[in-house]
């Protein structure tokens, strides 16, 4: 492999150089919390931050986006659609779990008929991943076969000591390197050794994580759909669920959205926003809802991730084990508990 390197305290030069031609998104602190936002002078990359609050999916699938503008006048109607993304951008600092999260969304939004707005962002966006430095007790990406030491994307990178080591995986990644001549240097044999040591240290940490033995046994394509659906344990599992939807908003793989309207006074904007199957109005129609109880809504979310999604997408799961829901649920419910209770592994 062709390894490049840059000192961590030089990273701002890298961001500045890339920012000349494109936006660079990275985890940025705002009011004490980190979320992906465009880099600007003065913003420092903080490798010790494990997770942004919202996952990196927000860059490709924003929480809210306009799709159409309508103007009505008397009987006539004018329809204008919003232009999809047409400028290149880079997203830096994504960990393996969130990179895999993009693949989960790709299967939904890029399958025929593709979502034009998502597709344009995927085409124009380049992903620079960084291996997570300090996985936490809530991490379980390994459960879903994710190799945290190979975070993927267009360029993947590792921090060893005070240096960031980078490797291009795609043509998009090579192109980024070509813009960074003089800013990143070629790495040598000693550097490769340093990276290897970092990786083996990381592997040891991953093995010791409390959820490292959690498996997907009992779920997925081969699981009995109605058997799983009708398990009596759903009731107690969901008993304390508030239906707040926090789990869905922090989730890198939750795909569900609503389409709503907003009257600006000048025109009517139709926009798309993240939505949550945990909400009672998610499936509410004029004549009622097929999921009137929170238990049913709770079950829907986990059945979707562990059974329905795998059924529809070649057995792939719609969870990447990032652990955000374990950290954020106000009543400590989460997918790991569901999997322990209903799955084959104890």
């Amino acid at each position: 492999m062709s390894l490049k390197k840059i000192a961590l305290n030089e990273l701002n030069k890298l961001f500045a150089a890339l920012s000349l031609t494109k936006k660079v998104y990275l985890p940025v602190e705002k009011a004490g919390q980190y979320d992906y936002a465009p880099w600007e002078a003065g913003v420092e990359y903080r490798p010790e931050v494990l997770h942004t609050v919202k996952s990196a999916k927000s860059v490709f699938f924003p929480q809210s986006e306009d799709l159409v503008r309508y103007r009505r006048s008397g009987l006539s109607l004018n329809i204008e659609c919003e232009a999809p993304e047409d400028e290149d951008f880079v997203i830096f600092g994504v960990h393996a779990c969130d990179v895999k999260g993009f693949e989960v969304l790709d299967r939904v939004f890029l399958s025929d008929p593709a979502d034009t707005y998502y597709k344009a962002r995927r085409e124009h966006g380049a992903v620079i991943s960084v291996m997570c430095g300090r996985p936490e007790e809530t991490c379980f990406c390994g459960t879903f076969g994710i190799d945290a030491e190979k975070p993927g994307g267009d360029i993947q990178s590792w921090i060893s000591g005070e240096t960031l080591y980078m490797e291009a995986l795609t043509a998009k990644g090579e192109e980024i390197f070509s813009q960074l001549g003089g800013i990143v240097a070629d790495a040598g044999e000693d550097d490769a050794k340093a990276v290897e040591e970092t990786l083996s240290g990381h592997r040891e940490i991953m093995k010791k994580l409390p959820l490292s033995s959690l498996t997907t046994e009992g779920f997925g394509r081969d699981a009995d759909l109605l058997g799983l659906f009708n398990r009596p344990e759903w009731k107690e599992l969901s008993a304390s669920c508030l239906g707040c939807g926090t789990c869905t908003y922090v989730c890198p793989t939750c795909q569900c959205y609503d389409i709503r309207e907003y009257n600006t006074g000048k025109d009517i904007r139709r926009f798309r926003v993240w939505d949550s199957c945990m909400y009672s109005d998610f499936t509410m129609m004029a004549h009622g809802s097929p999921r009137p109880d929170q238990m049913q809504r709770f079950r829907q979310r986990f059945m979707h991730k562990l059974k329905y999604y795998p059924d529809n997408y070649d057995g792939a799961f719609s969870c990447v084990g990032c652990g955000r829901c374990l950290q954020k649920c106000p009543v400590s419910l989460n997918i790991a508990k569901v999997m322990k209770k209903l799955g084959g592994a104890k």
């Binding site: 006539s76 979502d115 034009t116 959205y257 199957c277 129609m285 529809n312």
Partner: protein
């Protein structure tokens, strides 16, 4: 299914599936006190899109929202699409208040149609509808009428709360009842003055009529009616593989991505809305 944007949209860009095309409501017929039929055409008179019986489309009246409706007209009517819509919510209230000439947005078609050109071909057909449930079957019935020789005998059993609530009564009496090799049976829930036809609920009338299970049954109506009709058909010797229905759940995208119309691993918007009743047995009871 995608097309390039024209007019005021971004030149050359592929229009997203979520963006509707412009259409105009050219005719509005009042069918019952709470059902109107809307005829929708493209502003220049060219066909909006091709559909097959059982498929749906999203109608939008900006400011009042967007929702999925089954296409009532037959695909053999190329020049327009019709939608029989019951007033029961925010958008349908607003649609009931518009006048002919109103421009609206439309996108579609969505979903899998009834297998009119395959499994239904050559079969005797038994249509069973309740209330506004006639809307999705209307398209099938008119398609069968337009290709009459390709199908066997046709029975249509249709019921509603009252005589005034029978959608399309005029066409049923003047056209369907005169169609060759076709019997139409109407019923209303309670006796009323001036009605000398059958009185009683659809499932009970169905048993009374004692159809032989030598046909394919196609049912649509309120969920409770579908349930009892299906029970009655099983008692009458029908197999679930002979029975089709069409389901309805809340929808936003129409293309299996927004995540709300699933029943188990199936999305009603793209894997349905038409299901054979034995397929429904394999799904969780969440519809």
């Amino acid at each position: 299914m995608s097309e390039n944007c024209t007019g005021s949209c971004v030149p050359g860009m592929t229009k997203d599936m979520l963006v509707p095309q412009l259409a105009v409501v050219t005719e509005i017929r009042t069918e019952t006190p709470d059902v109107k039929t809307f005829r929708v055409e493209s502003p220049d008179g060219s066909p909006l899109f091709d559909h097959m019986p059982g498929q749906c489309a999203m109608l939008t009246l900006p400011g009042s929202g967007e929702a999925m409706f089954s296409i009532t007209s037959s695909p053999t009517e190329k020049g327009y699409k019709e939608f029989s819509i019951k007033r029961c919510g925010q958008l349908t209230d607003a649609l009931h208040a518009i006048e002919p000439g109103q421009e609206i947005g439309i996108r579609g078609p969505y979903g899998k149609p009834f297998p009119v050109d395959t499994e239904f071909r050559g079969q005797n057909l038994l249509f069973i509808a309740g209330g506004i449930g006639l809307a999705p079957l209307h398209s099938v019935i008119d398609y069968v009428r337009a290709n009459r020789d390709a199908y066997g005998h046709m029975d249509i059993l249709y019921g509603s709360r009252s005589a005034a609530d029978l959608v399309d009564l005029e066409q049923i009496q003047n056209v369907w009842m005169k169609e060759k090799d076709t019997n139409v049976y109407l019923t209303i829930d309670r006796p009323q003055e001036g009605w000398d036809g059958h009185v009683g609920f659809v499932p009970a009338y169905l048993k009374e009529l004692a159809f032989k299970p030598d046909c394919t049954a196609i049912i649509c109506g309120p969920p409770i009616m579908i349930k009892f009709v299906l029970q009655a058909l099983i008692e009458m010797g029908f197999d679930k593989t002979q029975v089709y229905t069409t389901l309805e759940l809340k929808m936003k995208c129409g293309i299996g991505k927004c995540g709300r119309c699933n029943i188990g691993s199936k999305f009603v918007c793209k894997d349905g809305p038409v299901f054979r009743c034995d397929e429904i047995d394999e799904l969780p009871n969440e519809y």
